[in-house]
Structures are given as structure tokens and as C-alpha cells.
């Protein structure tokens, strides 16, 4: 095998995290303010209609990569009146394929029924960043998309005015028509397409964007553009792809990550029904690309699955993971009683505050690893021919997929083509492209088109897990009942002994809650060695910090004899935008507003029956301010019923109300499912859970009512796919305390004897 060129930057999930999470990187943190761009019209062939090309990707792209901001998106209006809008980012269920075209259509005054959304091919040289991660697609493209829509509209108006010989300013637009009301005339956009295509693009500064109070489409509930295809069972997903003469593959890897193939019963496997090939791949030394393993290629998925059951591999585990959750937990508990190994951030004088505070409490929080468990198990289809490869891939980071596949095969990126399919859930798992690399290597080996299908067991035991971890707190109350100091010892894991596992520790310790809100704060860190692979999981970092921080804050409120709502609002103080003083910084005014709204809508302070309680939590992440209140019951036998969750959010003006509400409802249910009963544990490096019988997701009967309320502030719109998740777990645990007096300090809840 040709030695692959090493391109560590593309192989690193950390590099991707930098790109999708600007909160961790000061140099990018002003990125959401985009410059006005120069639009370029492409007139195309005569009679083809109107095409306006423009550039999406935002300033981040230009600042963080050498790639030029290219014209990478377009609006095309055909003479027949169809309006085609390009969607360049992966659709993983977050609704971007509907939301981004809505923004353009609003400024264009297009009739939404005329709009057809097309998925871009994958080519980061042309299209810039093509990821679904970090809830950033809306924020970084908002200005550009509005300007594109307004530019196209302006040119159509000019074309109509020229034809009618009237001033353009007398013309109005609505639902894909230009009107001249004085003379009762109107023309559909399609009829103007060829004329508009011959006009010059208006100069910068001549565009007038709509006031959001005049929006007709934005803020409404719009059904997803792929819904018809979804409900009729059409082939949209990666797993649905088929090629002529395609074979079906499975790929067996060592159950303990890092193991390599010593030997396998390949001859016996090759004799099984339907099996065409069985062979060993040595791996390329990058665990985010190609691990060593055994490939079996057969004439059907079932034949491949059956053969895999007969496969006997002898693994050389000398370098493999020996991780044991039980051991790690014991070591962490011992560390929790000691000071942290290194100080990440310190302000004021915590030691003096400890001495002088009226009372202090200590608390130790522990949470376990979880899997992504997207419902479409990992898969990819590929065809390697004549030194080039095409892949059909349900991935969240197709651009990085190009690089990973090229690196795995030792070929240039321009020999790799990725066809983006819909993905059956992402949650961060599909930011790593290991299935693409595996199928690429398999297709090259057999010189045939092939679909690689992971079993559910493969998917659950070879994930990049959300790391578990531990928080050891000491917090104090002064004589006035105010929060006096906060000491936080985070115990996480490290692969290399130097830096924490991905999302295992705060990326901006100085901005971690509540460092910016109190005078005496200390955050320290210790790390335990780990080989188990870790990854980004919906609202990385926040999804577990929020739980521990907002539960401990409630503990302090209780210790101070204060109402939680009042205590939290007091902590927020006067309205101000905290560093970095932009969208990615906590705004205490926006925070207080959502906290008050959630409390009001949930009936905070209302009288409840015995065994019933309300719990409150706030968290700021992904530029979204979210407060949630859970109303729950706890029975004597510790049965927990979550009745209702009230969400109050400020993510700026809402684009697609249906999509935004769906994301919030889904985040609440995902958060609840995870905190109630999900855990990944490992013994001797082996993941102990393998399918939904041992990793049971929440079912419909346990889904609470979710009420979502948006504060539509004038701040720029930001994403909704992640920030609703972090406050859920602390809201529920605080409600468990209110209902039962039991303080939950371990997740999932089942570890403390609760059930649903």
C-alpha cells in the first residue's frame, strides 16, 4: 500500500471544533459581522433565465483559510417562473435546507411555492465551509443571504420598470410578481428573468433590506422541503443509495480501540454463501480515518451480516485500550478530594473568601460517557475507478471527508468526489468520516462499487463518545445570602497526558459560568489517562457543564435560603454584554429576560401537590440564551414523571418558526432521554453497550409536553440546533430536588435509583 501523505490538520477533530465553535477562539470571535460583498451576475446562455451568484461562508472563511471567498451560491429564476436556490450545507435534521432559502426568498419577495431547493455538490474550493456543526449556518450567512435576495429583487424590479417605462421606485413586489399599482399592471418574475439577466448588478449601498416587522415568510411555520419525499419513502439517505453491480460490505474492528488484526478465519468466511471477498486492511494509523480490521464483501447486506457473525479474529491488543469505567470512577473520586493539578483560570482571592464566607458547601458531580446513536447507522457507498473515487455519504463534514479519503487512499483531493446525501441524524457523530475512509479502502481493494453498512452494534461500540467526567465544587454564601465564591475542580480525561479530550474541558475558562459574574472564582483541572475515542456531541461541553454548574448553583441558593429564580437573577446583575462582547458572549440582559419569561410561563412559585416540583436552569451556548423550567413528579418508589418543560429562548429573530420549535422540542427530549437512562461504560477497553436493549432511548410515552417561547430580539439570528439541550438536565434535577428533597449528583438518573 502506498504510504499516505500525512495531513494532520484535516484529520483532527480539534481543528474542526475550532472552526465550528468560535467561542473557543478569540481571533474568530468577531466573525459574524460580514462585510458587504460584491455580487456578480452570471447571465449564462441566452434565454436561460436569471442567475445571481454570490458568496456564502462569512468572514470566518476568509480569515481562517487560504481559500478565497468564491461565488459559491446562486439564485436562478427560470423563464417558466421556478426559483432555484442553492443549499450548500449538509441536512442532518436541523432544517437548514429549508431555513436558508427562506431568508433569500423573504428579501426576494418570492412565492415560497415557486422555490425549489437544490443541494450543492461537495467542493470546498468552490463552496467554502460545508459542515453541519456548531449551530452556525444561520448566523454566519444571514447578511449575505438577505442581500442576495434583495439584489435579485432589485434587478427584477428594474427590468419591469424598464419595460413599463416607469420609475423603479413606483414598483412593488409580492409573491413572485412585480406590480405597478398606479397602472394596475403586474408581471411574474419568470417573465422578467431574461431581461433582468442583462442588467448590471446594483452598486453596494443601494439595497434596502426589509425591516423585520415587514417579514411575510420569516418567522412563519414552513414545512421542510424534503417532507414529501420523506413521507413517501423515497431514497434520500446514505443507506438508500444503490449503484449498478454494487456489492455489500461490513468491516470488523477490534472491540478495544487500538487492537490490530493478528489472524482471522478468512478462508472459512470466503466459503460462506454470498461472500465474494474477505480481507484484512491494516489501517492508516489515524483512528479518525481507518482502523485495522477485516472487510467482508458479499452479494447482499444480509449475507455480509451473516458472514460477520462467523468471523473469528485474533486481535493483537498489546497497544489497545484497557479502559475500565469502574477504575476511572474510583480514581476520579479520590482526586475530587484534592486540589486540581493545574489552574485554568483564577480571579480574586478564593482562599481568603473560603475563610471569610458565612457558609460553604462541597459537592461532587459525576456523569458518564454517552453515544450518538443516530438512527441511521454509519454507512457509505463508494466506487473507486481509474485512480478516482466517488462516494455517496451521509456526513456532517463532507469537506473534511474529501481530505480524509484522499489521505487514506494516498491520492489527491481532486480525485475524490463526495455526493452529499441526507443524514439520518448527526448529533456530531458524522463530523468524523471514518466510514467514508473504510469504504474507500474496500472499494479500491475489490475494484467495484460497494456499500459499507455498519451494524447497530458496530455503530454503538465504535463511536466517538461524549466523554464522561467529574466536577468537584466548593461554593460559598456571604452573610447577606449572596454567592461569595466559587471553586471548581474539573476532572476529565486525556489521550496524551497533555491536553484534555475533545470537549472535555472549557475552551475559554475565563468565560466559563460563573467566572464573569463573581469576584472570587477558581477553575482547576486534573486529567485521567484514556484511550476510548471521544468526539463532539450535540452542544459539546455545554451539554454536561450546564448540568453540574446549574445544579450546584441551585444547591447554593437552597443553602442560602433563597428562591432560585431570584438568586439567579441577582447573579446576572445589570444588563451587559460580557467578554468577548459579541454574539458569542453572555449578555446578562438577554439572560435575565429568558429566565424571567421561562419562570412566568411555567408558573414559577405556583402551589404544587406533594411530590411535584418545578426546576429552573439557564445556560448560554452557541450564541443562544436559553432558560428552561421542568415540572415533574417523583413517587415514593422514585418513579420520575416529567410533565412539562417550558423553554424560553433568545436566538434573535426566528427564521422558520416550525423548524426552531422542532429543534427546541427535540433538544429537550434528546436531553431528557440522555440524562434519564443512557450511559456508555467500558471494561478492558470494550464498550459494554451494543444496541438499544442496553442503550434504551426515551419512548413516546415518556415525552413531556414542551412549550417553547421565543424572545425575538433585534440581535442577528443564531442557530437553534444545540443550545436548547444544555439547560434541560439541570432543570430536571433541580425539579427532582424540589419534588423530593433528593439532590441528584450522578447522571444518568438511574444511577441514583430513579426510573421512569
Amino acid at each position: 500500500m502506498k504510504k499516505p501523505p500525512v495531513k494532520p490538520v484535516f484529520s483532527s477533530l480539534e481543528a474542526l471544533f475550532d472552526e465550528i465553535d468560535p467561542s473557543g477562539n478569540n481571533s474568530l470571535s468577531t466573525a459574524v459581522k460580514t462585510d458587504r460583498r460584491t455580487f456578480l451576475k452570471i447571465s449564462g446562455a441566452a434565454g436561460a433565465g436569471f442567475v445571481l451568484a454570490f458568496s456564502l461562508g462569512g468572514k470566518v472563511e476568509a480569515a481562517s483559510s487560504k481559500r478565497r471567498a468564491e461565488l459559491n451560491a446562486y439564485i436562478r429564476i427560470s423563464p417558466e417562473g421556478s426559483i432555484f436556490i442553492h443549499s450548500k450545507n449538509p441536512e442532518i435534521g436541523q432544517g437548514i435546507k429549508t431555513a436558508m432559502p427562506m431568508i433569500i426568498a423573504e428579501e426576494l419577495d418570492a412565492d415560497w411555492n415557486d422555490v425549489k431547493v437544490e443541494q450543492s455538490p461537495i467542493n470546498e474550493n468552490i463552496f467554502g465551509r460545508q459542515n453541519a456543526g456548531g449551530s452556525r449556518s444561520i448566523a454566519s450567512n444571514w447578511d449575505t443571504m438577505r442581500e442576495a435576495g434583495a439584489t435579485a429583487r432589485g434587478m427584477l424590479v428594474q427590468a419591469a420598470a424598464d419595460r413599463w417605462r416607469v420609475p423603479a421606485k413606483e414598483c412593488t413586489t409580492e409573491k413572485s410578481f412585480v406590480f405597478h399599482k398606479k397602472t394596475h399592471r403586474k408581471i411574474p418574475y419568470g417573465d422578467l428573468a431574461n431581461e433582468a439577466a442583462r442588467l448590471p448588478v446594483p452598486l453596494d449601498g443601494t439595497l434596502k433590506l426589509k425591516d423585520r416587522r415587514d417579514y411575510k415568510l420569516l418567522g412563519r411555520r414552513i414545512s421542510g422541503v424534503d417532507n414529501y419525499a420523506l413521507v413517501t419513502g423515497q431514497p434520500l439517505f446514505g443507506i438508500d443509495q444503490a449503484l449498478p453491480g454494487m456489492l455489500y460490505a461490513v468491516y470488523e474492528k477490534c472491540p478495544a480501540v487500538g487492537g490490530i488484526v493478528a489472524s482471522a478465519n478468512l478462508d472459512a468466511i470466503r466459503r460462506l454463501p454470498g461472500v465474494k471477498h474477505a480481507f484484512v486492511l491494516p489501517g492508516n494509523g489515524n483512528e479518525q480515518e481507518l482502523l485495522p480490521g477485516v472487510a467482508i464483501v458479499a452479494t447482499s447486506t444480509w449475507a455480509a451480516f451473516q458472514a460477520k457473525k462467523q468471523l473469528n479474529v485474533s486481535w493483537d491488543e498489546s497497544g489497545a485500550s484497557k479502559d475500565s469505567w469502574g477504575e476511572l470512577e474510583k480514581r476520579a473520586q479520590a482526586l475530587g478530594n484534592q486540589p486540581g493539578k493545574e489552574t485554568l483560570y483564577e480571579v480574586g482571592d478564593v482562599d481568603a473568601a473560603i475563610q471569610s464566607s458565612a457558609q460553604s458547601i462541597d459537592s461532587f458531580y459525576s456523569f458518564r460517557f454517552v453515544a450518538h446513536a443516530s438512527l441511521e447507522p454509519q454507512n457509505c457507498t463508494a466506487w473507486y475507478r481509474n485512480g478516482e473515487i466517488q462516494l455517496w455519504a451521509p456526513t456532517q463534514s463532507p469537506g473534511r471527508g474529501l481530505a480524509s479519503v484522499a489521505n487514506t487512499l494516498g491520492i489527491e483531493e481532486d480525485k475524490v468526489t463526495i455526493h452529499q446525501t441526507r443524514a439520518g441524524g448527526g448529533f456530531g457523530r458524522r463530523l468524523v468520516n471514518d466510514p467514508l475512509c473504510e469504504v474507500a479502502a474496500i472499494s479500491r481493494h475489490i475494484k467495484a462499487p460497494v456499500k459499507l453498512q455498519w451494524t447497530r452494534e458496530d455503530d454503538m461500540t465504535h463511536d466517538f463518545y461524549r466523554a464522561g467526567g467529574f466536577h468537584s465544587f466548593k461554593g460559598g454564601i456571604d452573610s447577606a445570602g449572596k454567592l461569595a465564591f466559587w471553586q471548581h475542580h474539573l476532572i476529565t480525561f486525556s489521550h496524551d497526558g497533555e491536553k484534555p479530550v475533545i470537549a472535555g474541558a472549557p475552551r475559554q475558562p475565563a468565560h466559563e459560568f460563573p467566572a464573569q459574574l463573581i469576584g472570587d472564582f477558581r477553575l482547576t483541572q486534573s486529567m485521567l489517562p484514556l484511550k476510548t475515542r471521544c468526539g463532539l456531541w450535540r452542544a459539546p461541553g455545554s451539554n454536561t457543564y450546564a448540568w453540574a454548574l446549574q445544579c450546584f448553583l441551585h444547591e447554593l441558593a437552597v443553602a442560602a435560603g433563597r428562591d432560585h429564580l431570584e438568586f439567579l437573577l441577582e447573579l446576572m446583575g445589570e444588563p451587559t454584554w460580557l467578554p468577548p462582547k459579541n454574539l458569542y458572549g453572555l449578555n446578562t440582559g438577554r439572560a435575565a429576560d429568558v429566565i424571567k419569561l421561562a419562570a412566568e410561563k411555567a408558573g414559577w412559585g405556583k402551589k404544587l401537590a406533594a411530590g411535584r416540583g418545578l426546576g429552573l436552569a439557564f445556560h448560554f451556548s452557541h450564541a443562544g440564551h436559553f432558560a428552561e423550567v421542568a415540572e415533574i413528579s417523583v413517587s415514593e418508589s422514585k418513579k420520575v414523571t416529567v410533565h412539562k418543560v417550558t423553554v424560553a429562548a433568545d436566538i434573535g429573530p426566528v427564521i422558520n418558526l416550525s423548524g426552531a420549535e422542532n429543534q427546541c422540542e427535540g433538544s429537550v427530549i434528546d436531553g431528557l432521554s440522555t440524562m434519564l437512562g443512557l450511559e456508555i461504560t467500558m471494561e478492558n477497553g470494550r464498550i459494554q453497550q451494543s444496541n438499544f436493549d442496553t442503550y434504551p432511548l426515551l419512548r413516546i410515552r415518556n415525552a413531556p409536553t414542551v412549550n417553547v417561547h421565543f424572545i425575538q430580539s433585534d440581535n442577528p439570528p443564531t442557530g437553534a440546533g444545540e443550545p436548547a439541550l444544555p439547560p434541560l438536565a439541570p432543570a430536571v434535577c433541580n425539579a427532582v430536588y424540589a419534588a423530593s428533597g433528593h439532590r441528584v449528583r450522578t447522571l444518568p438518573l438511574t444511577k441514583e435509583g430513579f426510573f421512569t
Binding site: 424534503d226 444480509w302 438512527l375 453498512q453
Partner: protein, 162 residues
């Protein structure tokens, strides 16, 4: 190579499969190219593979094709009405914008369709009972419930089975 006969989405089909123990799911997907029915777990826990066998919802990931010989199978591809209009559930799923990733939704709709055949006006608890075998990883359960209620109303107003 054994042949199996079945009535699939209203049409009589003869299916050639190497191995009669192959689950119906993989025959539908790999042999017949009907990919609306999804693989999620292979152990009948998630419901993504739900189809109707003689009108009853079943998990096709565990059911050998040999066991459906001579029977009637309905998949999401055959759910729409004969005149080409969508089944009330399919329409309600669009109206309520139920899907996020959408992967589980064909299975959800098939479970719901079987429910409405049996019980044209289910209450919340009856819906929860009938839909208990279907996971939605994205958490669209409340919209699923709302869409089933809406479809039930639509069906009663149309005055026909669908």
C-alpha cells in the same frame, strides 16, 4: 433459489432470494429496491423497519421472508391512496412538519396507519401504546401525536378509510 410469493403494496410478486431466512427488511431494501423501510437496530427495538403484514404492524428486521410467503405486505411506498393522493397520515406529517432527520418517520407512519385502521379516533394513551415500538432519536414525539390526531380528523371528514 427458492421463490416466494407475496402481495406487495397491492401487487402480486414472485421474489427470488438465495436464503429464505433473510429478513423481509433486506429483501425489500436490497432485492426489491424499496428503501423507504429502514434499518435501525436489527433487534426489533427501534421500529424503523415497521411494515404491515396482513394489516398488522410488524418489525421486518427480524421476520424471515419465508414466513411471509403467500401473505400481504404493505410498505410506506404503497401507503398513498389508489388515486395518488397521500394517505391522511402522510399529509398530516407534512402539515405538522413532523420530521427532523426523518429517518424513523416511515416506520412511525406505518405504525400509526395500522392504529387508525383499528381505532379511527385514538386518545393520547392509545397513541402512546400503538407507537411504543417506534424510536424517534430527534425527539419529534409530540408532533407525531398531534399529526395522528389531525389525520384521524381528516379521515373522518373524508368519510372514507383514508
Amino acid at each position: 433459489m427458492p421463490d416466494f410469493h407475496l402481495t406487495l403494496n397491492g401487487k402480486s410478486r414472485i421474489i427470488k432470494v438465495d436464503d429464505g431466512s433473510t429478513p423481509l427488511l433486506w429483501v425489500l431494501r436490497d432485492t426489491l429496491g424499496l428503501v423507504g423501510t429502514k434499518y435501525g437496530c436489527g433487534i426489533a427495538q427501534c421500529g424503523a423497519c415497521t411494515v404491515h403484514l396482513n394489516g398488522a404492524p410488524i418489525r421486518s428486521c427480524l421476520l424471515p421472508v419465508s414466513a411471509v410467503d403467500g401473505e400481504e405486505v404493505l410498505t410506506i411506498e404503497g401507503l398513498a391512496n389508489k388515486d395518488g393522493t397521500l394517505h391522511a397520515l402522510q399529509q398530516a406529517w407534512i402539515d405538522f412538519d413532523v420530521a427532523q432527520c426523518g429517518y424513523c418517520q416511515a416506520g412511525q407512519i406505518m405504525s400509526a396507519a395500522a392504529l387508525l385502521e383499528q381505532n379511527p379516533n385514538p386518545n393520547d394513551m392509545e397513541i402512546e401504546g400503538a407507537m411504543a415500538g417506534n424510536y424517534c432519536r430527534c425527539g419529534t414525539y409530540n408532533r407525531i401525536k398531534a399529526a395522528i390526531h389531525a389525520a384521524a380528523v381528516m379521515i373522518s371528514q373524508r368519510g372514507s378509510g383514508k
